[in-house]
Symmetry: C2
Subunit: 487 residues, 2 copies
């Protein structure tokens, strides 16, 4: 029986002891180096400085905006400064959706302003807005069951509440409200749609976010019919009727007004819409593997953000964590066996264009990816490590997990939650991993003006970097190549 | 030795026991009735329903707005519905300050929007705004010490932080920044002023609030010189240069940008200014005393609010608490010895016009006020009871305090903090009291869009009502009239 260090995170750092373990599929020196990387990150990883830099010097960076280009330059320069061996830009083309201004006012019975944000790819209202009576539905199912007579000519309000869960599991059901309400209500003749924000806070911040998925355009002939063809032949559409999100306190207010029984009339004006095309870039920094330079461990986050905040937790954090993890590995005396690729993805927020472009460009080389993981769930601690690998690679995944354990990270199962940007390449049969962050507070700030640097804690970022650095290093250094699961 | 009930607030309600006390200056039946009022309030006072009604059916109610008139009608109708004997309106005339729109953008080195709100009685910028380099001062003292050469032509940024304290003691030093920066900077030739919000939160909400006090106009001949004379001969002015508040995260962001060392240029546009005069009303509900109808206990809060939120904690709470306390006393089999007057004051936020008008109108009858107290510090629990009475009335104040003690309210001293609306009448020699609320969270929401109903807890309001009802009843019912302190 061999002995391996088993470590625990304690108040003053990490305490380790020798414990008997099964033979590791990763050689001892690599395990020790990974533990050293981990412990070095915990002493200060530099991730916070990266997040501070991106959110301060670029600020909000909506895909296709002037700040998008600044963010790309920022990432390119940081990769170079951090000692990556190869830095390059890969073009990502997408349609631009423009947010001019938006307003909503209760006209009667109690005149007052409401706090709203138009949803991404919402269509605009006529100038001057639309004024109509509100019809409320407690959830998307109720809207689906409504008759045309209930909805026609009205402003539909869907008041479905999102559930707070550590794993973010409340997002799926709630986000369907954002993506489907305008289509369902529009087909029943609604004038416009207001939804309760997809968010768990009770602050007067509306949460924006996409209201139309590219997959919907592909799957739904009615949407495809009204879509516009872009230069590259792809399609884009705006929502069938204008759609905006109310802050949770405003949704509560509207609930109360409607509960009083008198008709509630609202005037809604959205000056938003499509505004041409744009070419941004996935920015890629690579450490070139010393033995197998053409095999890659891919980690990353997305460079763009929504516009109301400065995109600190979504997703400067992910960019900073994965860049800092790569930079830490770059400081080792020698490169790991395989290459490590850190990707700052373009335009995740408005259609996963960066992730899709990456998968398209690298489709033929999908099998060169030995492990992929994405950081796009905020800045809180990682608590769980899941893999998505063939059974024969499970011991290797477990060995990686054992190095993460002292960080308070439990080994999950072999069904990883695949991030949105690595989703397209993962579908081509690539071993995917998830380093699951505590998402209890994530949807308090997500897609709001309140997503700012003060919500990010440097020591928690360090824990994330510790995990990503150890994970990426071990996947790159292990003798055996990780095998993807059967598709 | 007599026995008096001594009660304690426990999880399931209030537990009482008999304990020996010194003879009370208030007769036993009154003390018992006060304790019953208190305990009844704790079982559900109705205050939350009032706060819900005002913030929902009227919403934001900025002095001089269309909603101001609706708020006055609301208060009048509520007083009548709650069983007050006499309800009347007393006119309050004031100048109107208009908020059109406001914007601030960093032009260089890192273009981005800033989240701001113009300060009350700010002057406007020219259309298109002013663009200038920013000069930062860590606090008001540093601005005061600055030379004209440092400030001339620049946008002055004062980044002074407010301290969080239970008693709100951080407000005084911080609010001086709001009230004096524009005048000090303007006299040194500044183009405009931005201040870090007077608030303790880290949410991306700027805090508005008045930037010019009437007392300043009265005391400062330079301000008086540029003031406008209103119909009643009073003076009003706007700030010497345009002035707005940045949210705390935006102030942090500006701190960071400036710390990088390159000049920071900002474009600031404030479409705000004076917009004529308005007559609103103090709305007064009275319970007429059975023996001394011309002696009054006065309690109240202010009916107006700032515009970004719905004025739930500032000050629908105070209006709801004091109305509900009066309504509870109205349900007793007989009226107390003296009258109880509940006042919903007009326009506190923009110059204490309601409180000043009240004192002016009732100056000759100041001595008919036997006790005054104001609720204008949010919706959290009362923790302290202070008096401001002549020494011979201290036993009476202590007796009142003994009934509040089971609510978790400690007896403070004989230096009450006098509220802003009752300040003017208090100055005429009236016994004032303070029922001090826990203000730890108050300045997280104060004067922001986030001051909405969800920040109000019904059971905490009940505790406030319990205290106000017991206090008002005892001051009205005591045989002896409370004597004011020597001025």
């Amino acid at each position: 029986m061999r002995l391996l260090p088993v470590c625990f995170l304690i108040a003053s750092g990490v305490a380790c002891a020798q414990a008997p373990v099964a033979p590791s599929p990763i050689a001892e020196p690599a395990m020790t180096t990974a533990a050293q990387l981990r412990d070095a990150a915990m002493k200060g990883s530099g991730a916070y400085a990266l997040v501070e830099s991106l959110t301060t010097e670029v600020g909000a960076r909506m895909a296709g905006s002037e700040a998008d280009a600044r963010a790309v330059r920022w990432a390119e320069q940081k990769f170079k400064a951090l000692g990556f061996d190869r830095v390059r830009l890969e073009p990502v083309r997408f349609p631009v959706w423009r947010r001019g201004h938006e307003s909503a006012v209760v006209l009667s019975p109690a005149p007052q302003k409401l706090s709203i944000l138009a949803l991404g790819f919402s269509s605009g209202t006529p100038k001057g807005g639309v004024a109509a009576e509100v019809v409320r539905f407690p959830d998307l199912a109720a809207l689906g069951a409504a008759s045309e007579a209930q909805v026609r000519g009205k402003i539909v309000f869907v008041s479905q509440k999102m559930e707070r869960r550590r794993d973010g599991g409340g997002y799926g059901p709630a986000v369907a409200v954002r993506g489907q309400s305008a289509e369902i209500a529009g087909r029943k003749g609604a004038a416009a749609v207001l939804i309760r924000s997809i968010g768990t806070d009770s602050d007067r911040f509306p949460h924006t976010g996409g209201a139309l998925w590219l997959s919907q355009i592909a799957l739904d002939p009615e949407i495809a019919r009204r879509a516009t063809k872009l230069g590259d032949g792809s399609l884009i559409a705006t929502t069938l009727v204008p759609a905006a999100a109310l802050s949770n306190p405003d949704a509560d207010q509207l609930d109360r007004l409607i509960a009083r029984g008198e008709p509630v009339r609202i005037q809604l004006e959205l000056d938003v819409g499509l505004a041409g095309e744009y070419v941004s870039h996935n920015v890629i920094g690579e450490l070139i593997g010393r033995e197998k330079p053409d095999e890659f461990v891919l980690i990353g986050g997305h460079l763009d953000s929504w516009d109301p905040g400065t995109g600190a937790i979504d997703d400067a954090a992910g960019v900073g964590i994965t860049m800092a993890a790569g930079a830490l590995i770059a400081q080792l005396p020698q490169r790991p066996r395989r290459s490590i690729r850190v990707v700052a993805f373009a335009n995740e927020e408005q259609g996963l264009y960066g992730g899709n472009a990456y998968a398209k460009m690298h489709a033929d080389a999908a099998q060169t990816h030995v492990a992929i993981a994405e950081s796009d769930f905020g800045a809180d601690l990682i608590y769980r490590f899941d893999s998505n690998v063939a059974p024969e690679s499970l011991p290797l995944a477990d060995a990686i997990g054992s190095v993460l354990y002292p960080l308070g990270i439990e080994r999950g199962g072999n069904v990883a939650r695949v991030g949105s940007d690595i989703g397209p390449i993962a579908k081509l049969g690539v071993p995917a991993f998830s380093l699951g962050q505590d998402g209890n507070d994530y949807f308090d700030y997500h897609h709001t003006a309140n997503d700012t640097l003060d919500k990010v804690d440097a020591t928690r970022l360090d824990q994330n970097v510790a995990a990503y650095a150890a994970f990426a290093y071990l996947a790159a250094e292990a003798e055996a190549k990780i095998t993807p699961p059967k598709m």
